[in-house]
């Protein structure tokens, strides 16, 4: 049958190319994680699970994981709430609607690492506008990037600035695709705006909301370029994320084997965590079966 042959013509080119590019790096990482490859002894010797045993006790890695969980959950939650609010604001008639829609989309178009460089000057204690703004709002001046807690806050602000626009795009596209009938029905029932949102808009938006949240969680978990450009993980290790820590171990200290074990543990934790979060979101947000 020609159909039988043709279907492989669609899939195989892309699949082959991707596997060819990705297979070696993955297998190599697994193998090298069982070796002591470092700057003094490069090469694939076999040291068993020594890297993993050492990682288990490496507090700096687990702190980075905990920090990533905090950073990711805080920024993605904020991005979702703000993105949804902005999408709702620009959904129905607003003055200069198209202008604001374009403007709100702009941050996701900009290169994160380049914007981080600008943000670093923005948050500069004495030469940047951040402290001017803080004082204008009645706060004391902060040592934004050189104090552990405010450095974390600064990174969240930058992440939210960059990626709320992505949530906004997906959620507005979702809102614009909703059918009109349920809203008419709600209006006939005399439901107010809040009731309509809770009973109609939000549930109908749930599938795309879950998709948007998952994409952002995946992308946010890789966070490192912003950290690299803004704080270099500092002060001390206060803003290190796992990706950044692996970068330091692997490409700065050339502990290739040890860094590879970080990578794999990190990947496994991510896959498990993201699967659980996806399940949780589906249960919490998708409309329950009507008959039940």
């Amino acid at each position: 049958m020609t159909t039988h042959r043709a279907k492989w013509l669609f899939l195989l080119p892309g699949l082959t190319v991707l596997v060819a590019i990705i297979l070696f790096p993955l297998l190599f990482t697994i193998r090298v994680s069982f070796s002591g490859w470092d700057v003094s002894q490069p090469g694939l010797d076999w040291i068993g699970g020594a890297n993993y045993a050492r990682l288990w006790e490496d507090l700096r890695f687990w702190q980075a994981m905990a920090r990533l969980a905090l950073l990711t959950l805080a920024s993605v939650t904020l991005e979702f709430v703000l993105g949804l609010a902005l999408a709702l604001l620009l959904w129905r008639e607003v003055r200069a609607q198209r202008f604001f829609r374009v403007l709100f989309l702009v941050p996701m178009m900009t290169t994160p690492v380049i914007m981080s460089v600008i943000w670093r000057t923005f948050f500069h204690e004495s030469l940047g506008p951040a402290n001017d703004l803080a004082q204008l709002l009645g706060f004391a001046p902060q040592a934004w990037l050189t104090n552990g807690a405010t450095a974390i806050v600064s990174i969240v602000i930058v992440e939210v600035w960059q990626w709320t626009s992505f949530m906004f795009l997906l959620l507005l596209a979702g809102l614009l695709s909703l059918p009109r009938e349920p809203f008419l029905a709600a209006a006939i029932d005399g439901a107010g705006p809040i009731r309509t949102f809770l009973r109609v808009t939000f549930p109908m938006l749930a599938p795309i909301s879950i998709g948007a949240l998952m994409i952002r969680l995946i992308e946010a978990s890789k966070l490192m370029e912003t950290v690299y450009a803004m704080t270099s993980g500092g002060p001390g290790t206060a803003t290190e994320t796992p990706s950044y820590y692996i970068f330091i171990r692997g490409l700065r200290e050339f502990q290739i084997g040890y860094a590879a074990s970080h990578s794999l543990v990190y990947l496994i934790i991510m896959i498990v965590a993201l699967t659980l979060i996806a399940k949780f979101l589906a249960r919490a947000m998708l409309p329950k079966d009507k008959t039940a």
């Binding site: 279907k7 600008i118 940047g128």
Partner: protein, 281 residues
Amino acid sequence: MIILYRTLKYAAILLWSAFVLAPFMWALTTSFKTSNGVTSGPTYLPWLQYEPSIEGWRSLFRSDGSGIDIVGPYASSLVVTLCSSAISLVLGTLAAYGLSRFTYRAGFIRNADITFFFISQRIMPPVVLAIPFFLMLQFFGLLDSELGLIVVYIALLMPIAVWVMVDFFNNIPRELDETAMLDGCSPLETFWRVILPNSKPGLVVAGLFCIIFGWSDFFFAFTLTFTNTQLLPVAVVALNSSVTPWWSLSAAALISVAPLIVVAFVLERFLSRGNLAGAIK
């Protein structure tokens, strides 16, 4: 009540607009400063607070020590982004059409698993792949070259194309294919003559997403190229030290992010026409 609601609504919109614009305005004003304007504390208004100069913008086109030559990295970024996006889009669209219309089976592997395999590539942090990619490109002699980065970026961008296009094709009614098949079209002809012409919104969105993420990548360009090839983000971040004048830095940053602003206009057009809903879901 309605007046209060409207006031709050526009206040919120304007507040967010100010937040979005803040770093751009700051970079714009900084790009016209000289060392006096920078070191005397935060200043915002040219002429009133500092004497503007176009030195920052001039330094972008000088390749001697006093500036950075941004033209080379610009061209490299364009070539790498456009080539890798185009290849990813072609391969990704073909694979997505296959995954949307046919049933594949290999052992326990089903369509959903293959789709997941494509999309799951995005979970992989760049730092995990950096070292093996380094060795791989070294082996093929592609280190520090545009071709090497294009190969790497295909792995980065194809998952995005597949993700957008599978959903898009799933929303195109199968009757369209079946009618074409009944008229005697082969699967390839059906795809080429009937499906593709109806897929413009999906293709545009997938292509734009590839371009955004390709243009934005820093890490692979940072680890896999050195002197022969330099992409924009690497060139700009190289300025990110305390000795670099902020004016050059700001001008370089602004000119690097400028071209993709066009993408926001294109996406908005599709959004307002209602075409985007099927393309991203």
